[in-house]
């Protein structure tokens, strides 16, 4: 369980990115974080594993306050938090297997990681995860030889290799096409359900969030302005989050995507 208590972040320039955010994410819940760009979604996610240092407040994962840890202890705690990135952020010139195994870096000593001599159990798990995300045959390929959707699957496998208790997901579909986006979102939700894993998913695509999230939190200018189930996300609620904008255009685009997807599914079934 993750609890944020009065989390705030003010950048050196004086810009306030987060002010007084308090949230609780229980076990197994997938929470979507929506809001206009610059609302502080990315900052919020990065404050949790302290890639960005929060200025005030608590980040409680179980009963450890992550915001108050020293460097060595922070590294140990980061193992418990898996992170998935917008542009995959794989190490492009390493193989897929090395990228997945890099999820174990926090558990192994330097010499093992340097010589690529990981414990047998880690390698088995890595293969298992690659199989789970459907990339068993790509283990020896270099990461930059994969397509966008495949790279994001490797990113998911890397995060899961950490054996995390929480997933932080930063715009997982921002650089993917609509169909692949849905596949990735479905994979994410399935995996979270299998492991009873809580996740915070930072997402800009509102229809996608409504379809896959169990709970939605809306941020505007660093403050929580909406917190509820996807059904409660009405036109009025969206306006408080985003300000005045034309939502119908987005809905229409969404209908097109759904159609495309239904079409693809029908074709898949025909082949099978």
């Amino acid at each position: 369980m993750l609890t944020l208590d009065g989390l705030s972040k003010t950048y050196k320039t004086g810009d306030s990115a987060l002010s007084d955010v308090s949230l609780t994410v229980p076990k197994g819940q997938i929470m979507g974080l929506i809001g206009p760009s610059g609302a502080g979604k990315s900052t919020l996610i990065r404050c949790i594993n302290r890639l960005v240092e929060p200025t005030a407040g608590k980040v409680l994962l179980g009963d450890v306050d992550l915001a108050r840890l020293g460097k060595a202890e922070l590294r140990r705690q980061r193992r418990r938090i898996g992170m998935i990135f917008q542009e995959y952020a794989l190490v492009e010139r390493l193989t897929v297997m090395e990228n997945v195994l890099s999820g174990r870096l926090g558990y192994v000593p330097f010499w093992r990681s340097f010589l690529r001599k990981y414990p047998a159990a880690d390698i088995q798990r890595a293969y298992q995860l690659l199989d789970r995300v459907g990339l068993m045959d790509k283990a020896d390929n270099r990461a930059d030889a994969l397509s966008g959707g495949q790279r994001q699957r490797v990113g998911i496998a890397r995060a899961l290799a950490q054996n995390p208790e929480l997933l932080l997901v930063d715009e997982p579909t921002a650089s993917l096409d609509p169909k692949t986006s849905r596949q990735i979102m479905r994979l994410l939700t399935e995996i979270c359900a299998e492991r009873d894993l809580p996740a915070i998913v930072n997402i800009h695509d509102v229809p996608l969030a409504q379809q896959f999230m169990q709970r939605i939190v809306g941020l505007n200018a660093g403050r929580v302005v909406f917190d509820g189930p996807p059904e409660a996300l009405t036109e009025a609620a969206l306006t408080t989050i985003y300000g005045e904008e034309d939502w119908n255009a987005m809905r229409k685009g969404d209908a097109e995507q759904a159609e495309a997807e239904a079409d693809a599914r029908a074709r898949m079934e025909a082949i099978a």
Binding site: E92, R93, E98, S102, F110, Q162
Partner: protein
């Protein structure tokens, strides 16, 4: 279009002020050039200068035909030259790597002390040509291959260090962030996040420097630091111009060959 009188009748590329400024600049450059020329040629013996074409014809006449029988004698020094360049490059690269990591903004352990120090090492090594390093080292540790190797290594630190630290600063921060997020230690972030990203640059720079070092090591013998330059010096001292021709042609062939090898190797890496 009756209002055409509003427009200036003369079209000018630049504003008058800017033009004046530019002309002043060019004028200053010409004046500086004339002044420098006078200072430089104060002690020039114009008699020698006027005599130069005759001298050139004389030397040219003595240079041909090349004394090809001298060639076998040059093989050992040529081997030495290649060794100076290769071992010097290896030594220089080994020393340059830590310097580069200290100099790069995103990996330096200390912005205030180590980074300026590393930058100073780089600029010192870059400002002083390998021939000058060799001159110093021959005086300090005596003539021979070792002086040449160390000279090449010292000169390479700056070149490799500068290009490598720029490559480190240009690495993709997101890949590094992702490795940090797994709970990796500092050394692990280095070996998984940064090293794979700079590897192609590293090999490219090293091979490129090796190519330059072959070129530079051919003349180190002039100051006693071993290699084919020793033979050049000896032939020049005895005014054996026909041997000088052979040496120069051999140097030229070596340089062309090393350039080809380095181009092929860089292609293979990238």
């Amino acid at each position: 279009m009756t209002e055409i009188a509003h427009y200036s009748e003369v079209w000018r590329h630049r504003t008058p002020r800017k033009r004046l400024f530019m002309w002043m600049g060019w004028l200053a450059l010409v004046a500086l050039f004339v002044w420098c020329w006078q200072l430089m040629t104060e002690n020039t013996m114009w008699y020698f200068v006027l005599d130069a074409p005759r001298q050139a014809a004389d030397i040219g006449g003595r240079m041909v035909p090349p004394r090809w029988s001298y060639l076998p004698e040059l093989m050992q020094p040529l081997w030495d030259t290649i060794n100076i360049a290769t071992l010097g490059t290896i030594g220089g690269v080994i020393m340059a790597v830590p310097v580069a990591f200290m100099a790069a903004r995103n990996t330096t352990p200390s912005q205030t002390i180590l980074r300026p120090m590393a930058l100073f090492i780089i600029v010192t090594s870059r400002s002083i040509n390998s021939l000058i390093w060799a001159l110093l080292l021959v005086a300090i540790i005596g003539p021979g291959l070792l002086a040449g190797i160390v000279a090449i290594a010292l000169r390479s630190i700056g070149f490799v260090g500068k290009l490598l630290y720029e490559a480190i600063e240009e690495t993709d921060a997101r890949q590094i962030e992702a490795i940090e997020a797994t709970g990796a230690s500092g050394a692990q972030v280095l070996s998984y996040g940064i090293v794979p990203q700079i590897m192609p640059a590293f090999w490219g720079i090293s091979v490129f420097r090796w190519d330059i070092n072959i070129r530079e090591s051919t003349i180190l013998g002039l100051v006693g630091a071993g290699g084919i330059g020793l033979k050049l010096q000896a032939s020049l001292n005895t005014l054996a111009w026909s041997q000088v021709t052979v040496i120069l042609l051999l140097i030229l062939a070596t340089v062309v060959l090393s350039e080809w090898v380095s181009a092929r190797m860089r292609q293979a890496i990238i």
